[in-house]
Amino acid sequence: MDANCKHELKVFAAEIRLALLKELKTRGFGHVGGSLSICDLLAVLYGKVMKVDPKNPKWADRDKLVVSKGHAGPAVYATLALKGFFPMADLDTLNIPHTNLPSHCDKNKTVGVDCTTGSLGQGTSQAVGMALGDKLKGRPSRTFLIVGDGEIDEGQCWEAAMFTAAKKVNNLVWIIDDNKKQLDGTTAEILPHGDLRAKMEAFGFDAVRIDGNDVEQLYDALTKEATDKPIAIVMDNIKGRGVKAVEETAANHSMNVKPEVWDSYIAAVEADLEALKKAGAQA
């Protein structure tokens, strides 16, 4: 990846974080930790990898995204708005009555959202069906599936993983957000997963572990051509990534903080974005 491209993606990731935090500030509460931890991934997916058309969001041959950890919806909405799927002003409507932007992803409400999720585990099987359906219909599409590490406690994820590999659904890419935390605490305390990369490999995937904050590693893993074996990417991550104060908050799954605290998060990301732009591609 050349320096310009890398810079562009880092800027896009910071812009997503900024739009996300402003969006969450409108209500004063929301799933901030798990939204922040997928911002770099969303930047790479929507910035360089996925074939999508904001003017034709239902284009059958597009690539699809299933955010099975559906509570990260606010990060997806920030990304889609920045890509022009709907106006940025819509982000202020998060979770108000009759909104098109509910806390959890809903394909029937939000332009550009490909799958309805929120009940953890359920996005995995739907993603398998969507990818399999595209394959059987002869479409060139790929489906990207984001699963939370806490979410993978759900047995349905493993049923879907077994099916993906066994039936060679290789136009589906599994991405596990290993941000080490779930609602009640750390995954290590609640239900340790062991080596997730090794587990996915044992299930029959071509599995890699990368830094979930490194746009270059993400790009390389997401654009690798799949063999018969589908690809699984375990993102080594930190819940709340990209906003130090959130990273350092123990209970950061859903946060309800005062406007001035949101402002401090926003100011931190604005400073990061400014520094990135100032340093330019040479940094």
Binding site: K107, S125, V128, G133, L136
Partner: protein, 319 residues
């Protein structure tokens, strides 16, 4: 539609119909796709699946995953048919059907085989008396309990093409023969099998033939019964229910299901608001299933002709 009830078993099994109709739909409509959870052999589709692995997909013993995959296939433009035994088609994958299919507007057809006492020797673990209750609670769902092979043959393709979540509960063997082959049915419309002035018996599935048998016994006792085959339990043919209640002044339901949440509940909910009349039911009390031959289980859980007759007599007496 022509009623040819003769008190005998339908010579054509439901399995005969499923094993012919599902492949026929798959061969004639490329959008139809079929998924099963390791029970293809039970409905005679395994051979077809072996020859057509892209049209008939065995998901293994993972019903939740099957329901979710079906929802995803629906999102990709398919009209999926899923099959497994009734308890697994309802309880085991209920949240996936409710959310991934229902809430997300991914239309799928779920076939739950061997409902209620027809699970027979598979016993209590395999005997859903609550599957109708569960599927009725899914907003916009269609719930069908078929009486015989002719009805299944006519209804299945219509169900697959219909919008929303569709649940079909069907025995694999035969129920009593009721209809002439080639009979036409409309989803959501109850079938008037016979008309009488004293009572209306509203039955579904396994109980339709038994309800007709009960009406014949009652006629000899001077009680003239209207018999309705309410094969579509949801959406209920409310107008038919209300009209019959008004004409006959009392109603008895007959179902191979718990009295909680099934046909009795649906009819009661309708009549309490529109035309309250004395009611009775032949249905399972608040209890679990158990093992045994179907005839024993029908007796044990109150699904015999004699029991329907008793309930009707008690209900007519309340008029």
């Amino acid at each position: 539609m022509k009623v040819i009830y003769n008190g005998k078993a339908d010579p054509k099994t439901f399995k005969d119909v499923l094993s012919a109709s599902i492949p026929q739909m798959l061969d004639t409509n490329p959008d139809v796709i079929y998924l099963d959870a390791d029970l293809m052999s039970c409905i005679g589709t395994a051979k077809y699946a072996k020859a057509n692995p892209d049209r008939a997909i065995n998901c293994g013993i993972a019903e939740s995953n099957m329901a979710g995959i079906a929802a995803g296939l629906a999102a990709a433009g398919f009209k999926p048919i899923c099959h497994t035994f009734g308890p697994f088609a309802s309880r085991r994958c209920y949240d996936q059907v409710f959310l991934s299919a229902g809430y997300a507007h991914n239309d799928i057809t779920m076939i739950g085989s061997d409902p209620g006492v027809t699970a027979g020797f598979n016993g209590g673990t395999h005997m859903p008396f609550e599957d109708v209750a569960l599927y009725r609670a899914i907003p916009g769902a269609t719930v069908v309990d078929v009486a015989d092979s002719a009805q299944l043959e006519n209804i299945l393709p219509k169900l697959v093409m219909r919008e929303g979540v569709k649940y079909l509960r069907v025995n694999r063997k035969s129920n009593d023969l009721v209809y002439e082959a080639g009979s036409e049915f409309e989803i959501g419309k109850g079938v008037v099998i016979r008309e009488g002035k004293d009572v209306t018996i509203i039955a579904a599935g396994f109980m339709v033939g038994r309800a007709i048998g009960a009406a014949e016994v009652l006629a000899q006792k001077g009680i003239e019964a209207t018999v309705i085959d309410m094969f579509t339990i949801k959406p209920l043919d409310e107008q038919r229910v209300i009209d019959c209640a008004k004409k006959t002044g009392c109603v008895v339901t007959a179902e191979n299901h718990s009295k909680i949440g099934g046909l009795f509940s649906a009819v009661s909910e309708c009549l309490i608001q529109n035309c309250p009349v004395p009611m009775g039911y032949a249905a399972v009390e608040d209890e679990f299933g158990e093992v045994g031959p179907v005839d024993y289980l029908a007796e044990r859980f109150g699904m015999t002709v004699d029991h329907i007759v008793e309930v009707v007599e008690a209900t007519v007496a309340k008029k």
